[in-house]
Symmetry: C2
Subunit: 388 residues, 2 copies
């Protein structure tokens, strides 16, 4: 599938130019003046950096709506032309691959999910290649080239080398995924841990825009956490960070597969909730959806299970807030479907357990459609392309 022409490169060859582009990308249309202010550069520098980016089509003048002081020369806002380039993001789980085609502004154009037959790198790569090919075909319809491919995988991932050191669901060890995927796709590939990829998407295109310190907590099959400190995603010295799932939150709580008791994941993960609902209510619910349905029907036992999970999540978030003092925590994940059942508990437990100023940290929830994980992967590809 290798494309015939070499990958297009981004015409921002200085850190300042990258910074300017990123600022415009993440903060919508901006005048050159405002861009200068935000980046700490001079307006002259912005003018000079913007020109080649406009010539290359990545930025466009945007005469659109603009609030002006109504006096003086009208400002001339600039924005990123999302349609200038496309990116593919893939999220691999143990069962399937979710793929999205996004534009340069990380807006999803096409989304697909395909089941996995096997988990060996070769098999997964085969399915991924087919999916990318399909999305490439779709892209032809837009008449725009795809400039990068991002892949998100749960587990221990080294983005710098594009290696999956260890992935629990896929049972991979030291797979040089970026290299392999580059061969079959012909695209520049970025490989990142799934939660960190989601965090990148929030940082550039979501609720983390403009914040230098925030956390993303995902609730679902597992409990994950992505951290941004000093404006950069925390990768962890050993490739692992944000393991919030094993923070102790419930005294003498249920045993966790990690060997401890009362871990957040042992109380609030889908599996934990489902098991506990079965145990408490005697109703043999098969999965999280059924457990949720039971609680929604008003089953008090099931509702109590969700309440306890909410309390656990709130305490887990408080631990993060106490340790890092983020500006905001964004809660997301499939588990948010039950949001109405534990929102109150999350907030109350957080407030109770957050110490001092940490309570000033804003807790926000954000529904997460299934493609969002793959979009995160695309965001990492955009990041790599832009050169940050």
């Amino acid at each position: 599938m290798p494309s015939t022409s070499p990958a297009e490169t981004f015409p921002a060859h200085t850190p300042a130019a990258s910074q300017i582009f990123t600022t415009v990308l993440t903060h919508g249309p901006l005048t050159r003046q405002e861009t200068a202010r935000r980046t700490g550069l001079s307006p002259a520098a912005v003018t000079k950096a913007v020109r080649p980016l406009i010539e290359a089509g990545f930025l466009v003048e945007d005469a659109g709506a603009e609030v002006r002081p109504a006096v003086g020369r009208p400002a001339n806002p600039v924005r990123v032309d999302g349609g200038r380039a496309l990116f593919v993001g893939l999220k691999a789980t143990g069962d399937e691959i979710i793929g999205v085609l996004t534009d340069l502004c990380c807006r999803i154009r096409v989304a697909r999910r395909v089941p996995l037959s096997g988990r060996a790198p070769r098999e997964v790569l085969q399915v991924a290649a087919d999916l990318v090919r399909e999305l490439l075909t779709e892209a032809e319809g837009f008449g725009v080239r795809i400039l990068g491919l991002g892949i998100a995988v749960a587990g221990d991932v080294d983005r710098a080398t594009g290696t999956v050191r260890w992935s629990p669901f896929l049972n991979w060890h030291d797979v040089p995924l970026a290299g392999l995927a580059e061969e079959v796709s012909g695209l520049p590939v970025t490989v990142e841990n799934d939660v960190r990829a989601l965090t990148v998407a929030e940082q550039w295109f979501g609720d983390g825009v403009g914040l230098s310190d925030f956390a993303v907590v995902t609730v679902g099959a597992g409990i994950g956490c992505g951290l941004v400190v000093h404006g950069r995603v925390v990768p962890g010295a050993h490739g692992v960070a944000g393991e919030i799932g094993h923070v102790p939150v419930v005294p003498d709580g249920p045993p966790c597969h990690c060997g401890d008791r009362g871990c957040l994941e042992a109380v609030a993960s889908d599996a934990a909730i489902t098991a506990r609902v079965r145990e408490v209510t005697g109703v043999p619910v098969a999965d999280a959806a059924e457990a949720l349905a039971l609680a929604r029907q008003g089953n008090e036992g099931a509702r109590a299970v969700y309440a306890r999970a909410g309390e656990a999540i709130g305490r887990g978030i408080a631990t993060v807030a106490n340790l890092l003092g983020p500006e905001r925590v964004i809660i997301s994940g499939e588990g948010l479907a039950a949001y109405d059942l534990f929102a109150g508990q999350i907030r109350d437990a957080f407030t109770a357990a957050a110490f001092g100023s940490a309570a000033r940290c804003e807790v926000r929830t954000r529904p997460l459609p299934f493609e969002e994980w793959a979009r995160g992967a695309a965001a990492t590809a955009i990041q790599s392309f832009v050169g940050r």
Copy 2:
């Protein structure tokens, strides 16, 4: 006390020069070649940056011991001349002020502690001024000028503005300490939270040298934690970070003053240990020293209390390691006097509670003489002087 001449400034006017100086400062004697390699600059740039620093006396050629490949031109290492400048560091507690006079390499030359009569900013400032004056006199003996003053205070401190927003032990609210101290001392003043100051000292002059991600955990009257992520100390969005004291570690543990139960601080702080030893053994120990003595005498009940504290500390550290994935955790603080009584428990609990790769994080202990807190303050002053 204002000095007659204006404060001397540091002749490194570019970020690269600061970086070069910092590299030599923290990594001992280095050849220009090696400095270039470590900073990612060219050897030419190092030569040019080093010259004015040598002329100003901050760096000196060091013909001392050097491992050489024995072939080619001998390398010409350069090191910081510690004696070129002196700094004062103060640590204010509720009862006393600890002051040290250090050289540019943050080696302690003189240490003093003086009791506080009152806690009002005015009173504290008066005592601090006297102490600084005394140290200035000492400095005259060295024939070197003092180029900066660092002050470490527990609580919510905004280093950028030099304001103590809130200090629990001193009961201060929004005290513009840096400005006040500059007036009475005539020195450039840096104000920082005490744990962060200690962390800075470790980062530049201690066990954190060369690490981009590590944590310092202090055990004593309280349990504190300083974090370095991406090579920078984490200040927290609201000026507060590293509140490890209220991580829940003991299921249904003793109530904590924060309102929760089983917080690390409610189990492992001096006061918690002392109270618990009294409760368990019936011996009316008055303070941590007596509790420690009792345990050292072999009192099983007291030893068990320390063992439990060690377990709690280990779990608290594991939480930090799980969340941030640091390369190393440095345990320090007055509480370390009891190290032999809980070292094993710390290690075991950490290993048990650290998830996956987080267990690869190295846990190190470091005895902390009482002046070390004040030395941390001096380190922040050095940092400010050098311009990082």
